[in-house]
């Protein structure tokens, strides 16, 4: 196993390989790479939510110093209207093609100049007039345009006789939950630099998967896929927001071609909010019927999300209902509501994050109304096999997460009554939530060369957007080759490295690790007796079992303690503990960081984040970090994330992804803790000051004061 006498790298905590570059400012992100002859594009976005452009008057802009020109639908090149990505054709991708405006924030012109200041100043002078049409951004589950969502992720669940089981239940919880539009807000705004050479498109782009993006660009520009070369060496976060082909790249490529020189398009922070997709708002009705002893009889989760008519999309909120608990009858329904908005974009823990807020809040309401400990209720309803699929689980360590978490958190000492713990003006409460997050791999390919100097060059189109993929994959390669990590040269972040899964769906590292392990195996066979260099390549597409006979998930249990200030309505998280079952952990130091980061994202969602649109104009009014608060240092307490021992049998190395599960569950745990503190259920996120103050004030009327 280990010819070099090297101890296994997988399982060891190691700092990031690029750490030194990142703390000295030497790591080059997209906008840091100098390119000779660079021109700068400044985006002009639409200010109406629906309508037609009557005129774009760029006369003044064109007369300004340094301005090379203005691209809009009248002079831009044609793009393939059928280009698309994961969910099929995306009609929002072809920019500057016609005068139609389908959502506010749509890029409608690009001013290109020698310097960013010139481009910006000129863009401010562009006069756009519209023939506005009435828009509709009023999201609700009952919207007349609501339709069943795509079933690309599988058919809806419908087992047992739901209505009969509900009728036979001692208790039925039937509540509606809301989550708002939320923005990924990676700290690096979307930026791309593009140039053309001999019919080839070259671009540096801030994205989560340069290979996939190169395929979309090739399709959009109708060029041979081999002619699109996209690089993303260091990426300043993504969280899903950079999984789709972004307007920065499309516009930079169009302008580079038009003006015959390299062009950089950097979205401003405001434009990131306006012109790139967000997590859509959701409205979710959950019905749970239970016997008096707490056993579930019926589970019904009906979730609706907003999308755009321009592209298909799935916010799969109903995943928890089909796998977390056993019940004789389970039904899921997913509804899509097309509105005059830009297409949404998967955001960390898509579906599971808003979905588990609703579902795990409803489960808590069952516990509350039956007077059963919420942890015990969850343990009581654990399934033996997939409640809907009927298949066994490949590994299911959720009970271990719940029990170990409860032990560390001190759950046994918890007084179940709400609103009985006061510390001065503060009410104190604790809450719990459980999560199941689907796991698996996407096809990827890797190439490994055994070099003559004894090193191994590993080439794989992976991306490290802060996940630690580069460092993790080095450890995986070292173990698979049976050598020390110092002998691995890892090359990632370039579409020319071959087909590979992007950093998304909690599958980037697992998919790439699988490809590396298989390639290492092939290389070791070839190496026997051969003279170096020797190269092996493997594409995992034919190796993936798409219909495994066991359900593959990762799990978590989240415990939260909050304080609620009765006077101000401020909710603060005092403690947050997450226990995770995520397969074998490659690098505990980095994995813990990623999970803690996810948990803070969940905290931020629970308490702060809310995209608000002006109903009159349809425009996002929270398009900066003043209007859209994301958790800052002072919002974040000490947070603990840890693992229960786990091994995924469907992966040759026992791995599963963990990029997203950290987010899910946290909002429900916090909301449940807020109920425990105040006696009030918050079914709408975020649990902001105003919402809390109103409900606390209602409770604080003399007759309603709780036991202090």
């Amino acid at each position: 196993m280990n010819p070099d006498g090297i101890t296994a790298a997988v399982g060891e905590s190691r700092p990031r390989i690029e750490g030194r570059l990142k703390v000295t400012g030497a790591a080059r992100y997209t906008a840091d790479v100098p390119v000779a002859g660079l021109a700068h594009g400044w985006v002009v976005t639409a200010t109406v939510s629906r309508g037609r452009i009557r005129d774009i008057d760029a006369g003044e802009a064109l007369a300004q110093p340094g301005v090379l020109g203005v691209l809009d639908h009248r002079n831009a090149r044609r793009l393939n209207p059928d280009a698309g990505q994961y969910f099929g054709p995306d009609r929002s991708l072809p920019l500057l093609q016609d005068e139609v405006v389908a959502y506010a924030g749509r890029p409608i012109a690009l001013v290109v100049a020698e310097t960013p200041e010139q481009a910006r100043a000129a863009a401010a002078t562009v006069r756009v007039t519209y023939d506005a049409e009435p828009h509709d951004i009023e999201f609700s589950l009952a919207h007349p345009a609501a339709r069943p969502a795509s079933t690309l992720f599988g058919p809806e669940a419908d087992t047992g006789d739901l209505e009969a089981e509900l009728a036979a239940s001692a208790l039925v919880v039937d509540e509606v939950y809301h989550t708002p539009e939320e923005n990924h807000s990676a700290m690096e705004p979307h930026v791309a630099t593009a140039w053309w050479q001999d019919g080839h498109l070259h671009a540096l782009d801030s994205d989560q998967g340069p290979f996939g993006i190169s395929q979309v660009m090739a399709s959009l520009f109708l060029i041979d896929p081999e002619r699109a070369h996209i690089r993303a060496e260091h990426v300043g976060g993504g969280f899903g927001g950079k999984t789709v082909c972004g307007p920065q790249l499309i516009l930079a490529a169009m302008a580079a071609e038009h003006f015959g020189r390299p062009v950089r398009v950097a979205l401003t922070r405001r434009q990131v909010f306006l012109a790139t997709g967000s997590r859509p708002p959701t409205e979710q009705r959950v019905r749970i019927g239970a016997d008096a002893d707490g056993r579930f009889r019926a589970v019904h989760h009906h979730a609706a999300f907003a999308l755009s008519p321009l592209a298909e999309y799935i916010e799969w909120c109903t995943e928890q209902a089909r796998t977390l608990y056993a019940a004789p009858a389970i039904r899921t329904e997913l509804t899509a509501v097309p509105l005059d908005l830009l297409p949404p974009c998967s955001m960390r823990g898509p579906g599971a994050t808003p979905g588990s807020f609703a579902f795990e809040s409803a489960v808590d309401e069952v516990a509350e109304r039956l007077g059963i400990d919420p942890l015990r209720l969850r343990l009581l309803n654990q399934p033996e096999v997939g409640p809907v699929s009927g298949r066994p689980f490949s590994s299911r360590r959720l009970v271990a997460c719940l029990q170990e978490g409860a032990r560390r958190f001190g759950w046994a000492q918890r007084d179940p009554r709400p609103r009985v713990r006061r510390e001065g003006d503060l009410l104190v409460g604790t809450g719990v939530a459980a999560v199941a997050f689907i796991a698996g791999v996407f096809p990827s390919s890797a190439t490994i060369t055994a070099e003559t100097d004894g090193t191994f060059s590993v080439r794989i189109g992976a991306t490290d957007i802060g996940t630690g993929a580069r460092t993790a994959l080095i450890a995986v390669a070292a173990d698979a080759l049976g050598v020390g990590v110092e002998r691995i040269r890892m090359h990632i972040g370039d579409s020319d490295l071959g087909m590979a899964a992007g950093a998304g769906g909690s599958r980037g590292t697992t998919s790439c690790a699988f490809a590396i392990v298989e390639t290492a195996k092939a290389l070791r066979e070839k190496l026997a007796g051969a003279t170096t260099p020797v190269t092996a390549s493997v594409d995992t597409t034919p190796l993936i079992n798409w219909r495994p006979d066991e359900d593959r998930y990762t799990y978590s249990a989240v415990f939260a303690e909050v304080t609620v200030d009765v006077a101000t309505g401020e909710v603060r998280v005092r403690r947050l503990l997450g226990m995770f079952a995520v397969g074998r952990v490659i690098n505990p130091l980095l994995a813990r960081s990623q999970l803690i980061g996810g948990m803070i994202g969940g905290l931020s969602m629970a308490l702060h984040e809310e995209g608000v649109r002006d109903p009159v104009t349809g425009r996002l009014v929270t398009a900066d970090f003043a209007g859209y608060h994301i958790s800052a240092h002072a919002d974040v307490p000490g947070i603990e994330a840890d693992f229960v021992a786990d091994y995924e049998p469907q992966d040759p190395s026992g791995f599963n992804g963990l990029g997203e599960i950290g987010n899910a569950g946290v909002a429900a745990a916090i909301a449940n803790a807020v109920w425990h503190a105040t006696g009030t259920r918050h079914r709408t996120l975020p649990i902001s000051l105003g919402r809390v103050v109103e409900s606390v004030a209602a409770q604080d009327r003399p007759q309603a004061v709780g036991v202090a």
Binding site: P15, T24, G25, M187, P189, R269, G597, H633, G638
Partner: protein, 185 residues
Amino acid sequence: MTDNGRGEIETRSEISLRVNDVDYRVAVDNRRTLLDAVRDDLGLTGTKKGCDHGQCGACTVLLGGRRVLSCLTLAVAAEGAAVTTVEGLAGDGELRPIQEAFVRLDGFQCGFCTPGQLCSAVGMLAEHAAGWPSAVTRDGSPERTPELTEEEIRERMSGNLCRCSAYPSIVRAILEASAREAVAG
């Protein structure tokens, strides 16, 4: 824009910048921020632009030892002052204690906010050592240097957003490095 006396509008100025102990003479657009000047004119791209708006802290540099948001500082206004960027934090190939602690304790993920966090931490430690209180300091009397607790660090570092949310490790790294930083100065 200024009139140069000949009726022409001057939109550029030639200025001297002293960055990381190196003197530069550059001609900049008067509208150019210090952030864009260090990045694009001096090629010091370690300093990052997260919002260009004074709302995220990614662009934090030290100006005369004090933390400033370089996106809200015009380059022409920084003429003559000593600027320190992330590239200037390490001495002669050696990481300085706070940088070493960030790497070892994983005080970042994507690393995009990191240059700002580091510069901000160095400036913050100096403010603290000078006895400046913060909003969470209980006893703000000038004779007392407040104890550097996790709560103090969180409060004082709240201008530096990190969407990867490496916050707990950042705080740990700052706390751990603070004593050695004080010596390193």
